[in-house]
Amino acid sequence: MSAPTPVREPVWSLSRKAIALWVAQGAVGTLCYGLVVGAFWLLVPLDAGAAVAPARWAGAAFVLAYAVLALAVRPRLRFRVHRWEVTGEAIYTLTGWLTRTWTLVPISRVQTVDVTRGLLQQLFGLATVAVLTASSQGTVRVPHLDLGVARHVADHVARRAEKIRDEAT
């Protein structure tokens, strides 16, 4: 990431609790894969074929690698690459690690603001803010903000959009 970015980076990061949520998601995923591999160890006898022994160890290695990736690496990486900002006139986000996507939507063209809370998000006190415009492509989504922050942002954007809305869509 040494090359200069085409546009500037938004300044705010998500709630730190998002890392915990992603770790929890990773733990659930690891558990699922672990159960599948464990069932394979227990239920498929060694003498069922020559490929069983290597398959057992490959499965175990996969679960281990996935656990490291999903619990230690991915949450922090995701936290680093997600950035957002609300300026006086626009909402601005940056997502993606390999392919990076910056999205900027002017508040004057905002049509609806949604705050959604998934099951895990409710456990961690987080919420996702989605800002929709007339274009199917021009949707801004900020995942995993503190519930209070999310509500405040949604309220602020909706209020301001009403004030400075222009007729053109």
């Binding site: 090359a3 910056w102 999205t103 900027l104 274009s135």
Partner: protein, 489 residues
Amino acid sequence: MTRLTARRTSPRVLLVHTLTFRQARSVVPVALAVIAGRGLQGSPTTVVALVVGVTALSLLWAALAWWRTSYLAGDTAVVLTRGLVSRSVRTVPNDRIRGVEVEAPPVHRLFGLVRVRIDAAAGSVASEDEELVIDGVLRTEGDRLRGQLLSRRAVVATEAAGRHSAPEPVEEELHRFRNRWLLYSPLVGSYLVLPLAAVGALFRLLDEVPDRYVPRPGQLIGSPDLSDGGLVLVVAGGALVLLALGAVLGSAVVNWRFRLVLRGGSLIAERGLLTRRHTDLEVDRIRGCAVSEGLGMRLVGAARATALVTGLGDAARRGQLLPLGPREDAWQLTDLLVPSPGALQRHPAAARRRRLGRAVAPGGVVLVAGAVLTATAGWWPLLVAGAVLTVLGVPLGLARYAALGHATGPTSFAVRSGWLVREHVVLQRRAVVGWQVRQTVVQRRAGLATVQACVGAGQGGYAAVDMAAPEVAGFTRAASGSWASALAG
């Protein structure tokens, strides 16, 4: 002024629906199955009785439907009530009407009837439900409805603008389709598909008919000698000619006597040989224009122009300004509606390298696979195919690069891309409802970025592919409002 009583559609629509078996159509597959099963052993009287019965049933059905359907075009809304048993009432407020389309399918024309479609699409997501259809009113009533609905809309608009007297609308014909432009059709992909689709439908129909009624080609003309190369050539040539003729014919059916008229604040397009359609576009809702030229069209200098209109359902068809014609005419229309932002700026050399790389890569993969196969199994055709593909990738990449460009002007901006269909889109500054900048790993190393303008019309977004990364902030700022300066460092 207007009597606010609900009206029925014209009773003549009964004849139309009986003739087209609109309601009885669902019975036809069952009847066909019964006939196929019993093998039509009955005497001609049974057949006649069957036909009479179905027709009577259809007439009864149509009559009931007509009796239970009524519409009301009031001062504030249009209300359509229908349904035989379960009633449905659909209301469209007048200020939400985006367009009124009057169409006259062939059978309707026979009885002097039209079908009025009232479009109230809300967002860029079009759905059937956002349309209100009044089927089967007299032509005069259809024109009256259109006039009333659109003038009411215009009154709302002028009141909003603080004016009191609307000037008498002046009609100005912008252009008229010339029949010789039909000759372009065989070079346009979508028209070439038309005859193919017709052939496909024919084969499906043949599939439905029991086998013993289908003549075998072999029985008719004997078995032809396929080893004769000349015959194959003649057949292929004949098929090509037929395809071209079909394309011209299909294009004529759709585009016959197309004319575009500017009346008041609306663009009115009229078209169609069998089904005549009037489509209304509000000039105020036009956010931009797209001029697209397919590969074949570029050879002869043909193009098509489409208006990008906000909140228009079925925009690809209804937004057409020039379905097919010379490039100069397409640009003349586009410049009239959206001021031109000037000549396009080329994209940097890194963009050419990226286009070339992407065009050559598939051929390269085949080439490597071919080399491996040649070395291991001595099978060389894949190697040759890979080499040919790789070499062909070079002109393809260069052509794709040549299509890239962007420009900004005082009130509008433009982007262009595409090779199979090259699309040059000119958009007003106010059209932009958001920006999306994307950069892949490869683009980051090459100092490029793809900038997409999100627009509440047309496809929803139009991209300037592989622009020089340092130019992005300047471009977005110049192509939209001051809010875009949030992107600049």
